[in-house]
Amino acid sequence: MSAPLRERRTAALAGATGIVAFVLAWEAAGRAHALGASWPPLSDVVAYAADRQHRGLLAAALAVTAREALIGYVAGALAGTLLAALALLVPPAAPGLERFAAVVNGVPIIAVGSICAVTFPPAVNPVLVAALGTFFLVFVAATAGFAAAPRAHRELFAALGASRATTFARLAIPAALPALVDGLRFAAPVAVVGAIIGEWFAGDRGLGPLLVNAMQNYQIALLWAAALLGALLSALAYGVLGVVRGAAARRFAP
């Protein structure tokens, strides 16, 4: 077997062993209550989630959160990209906008969730909070992306006498795509967090209230099941966008 292939085999084997070790350790620790009553074995959590009685509740909550996160994500991503384009096309506006976005991002998300719930209809709160979180990340990524065109390319367009619009459409946008898609990828989990926090202040639908209620009522298995579903949703979104990112990097990165 050739050396690189052998290396890959060893790495894969080590990886698989590690994963198995981790799962076994969790199961053992849970059964022995090594980390307290609130850390159940993995098998208990899975059994709980698979149980017909609980499946419906968990699935409904997941669906609500997923939908809110998606809508908020799309809205925030559009806003972030447009504002970054604005900053590019109106250079004097740029420093102010960047500083503003940085501060908006610094507002604690719980405050955002709480205040928005009072100022706007509570029902849109999860979407709104998800959108705000997404907006900042995408804005930063898009701003960096639009500035990513190498100097040689910018000079080329200048020497070709291209208009600002043409330079924007044919150079800035394609050059920005790798960074932009990266930003979109990192923003996906943020949208999920935003949706959950928004739900805390909006009512009792979705994973957010489910998690808090389970915590307060000592429903340990439900708590872990809901948390794992949240993790799965986040990971799925991140993974899908990771594939998109790979394609974009292959085509558009220098």
């Binding site: 790495a11 590690g18 981790f22 500083r99 604690p108 808090v212 915590m215 986040s234």
Partner: protein, 250 residues
Amino acid sequence: MTRALTRAAAAWWPFVLLLALWQLAISAGHVQQIVAPSPAGVAAELARNPALYAGEALATLAVAAAGLVLGLAVACALAVATWFSRFATGALTLPALLVQSTPLVALLPVLARVLGYDVRTVIAAAALITVFPSFVLIAAGLRALPSGVAALAAALGASRRARLLLLAVPAAVPNALVAVRIAAPASVLAALIAEYLIGTAGLGQLFAVAEGQLDTARAWTAALVATALSVAAYLLARRAERVIGDRFRT
């Protein structure tokens, strides 16, 4: 003079605009104090209780910093472990991915039950939000040797330990500083959410209590102070990155 003014205007116009819109919305919409305070209301609240906000801000900052340091330490240890051992890399992949994917707001209730309703959970939250991005950055940094250096070290017969200490660790410093820059505001944020949820001392709890009492002026002021804290943490970290990082950058 006018130059400085125009520059200031260019840098701060969105804030001025927002402030004006805020005041306008309150006055024109005849918004009740109980729904949302005016800018003047917030300013008055802050002026009335500076010690309160300073104290709570310090409490939040302390737990956030503790969590940040803990998270970085763990991230470094894990990064070095994966640098040495492929088994470690494999073993860490799944838990790392799990922790990273679980939204903090899903993790917190679990942590609160496991560790209890006290400051340990808050520190753990700040540490967990720091750990994964820092681990990824530092692990990458350890491997980011300028081309040819790795081959040189091998040709010189350097031991693994020597290569780690003399080459990999300095190479990782810029990335470590980026990790701090990213984690600083995030750990403040995590601390605030944790305080809000479990009621330990800090701005998050102040916000929760004020919210419960419908004291909007206090709630908004707490939120603004928390924002300032987050931004300050970020700026401090960025300054440190620039000052220290320049020396280690390839």
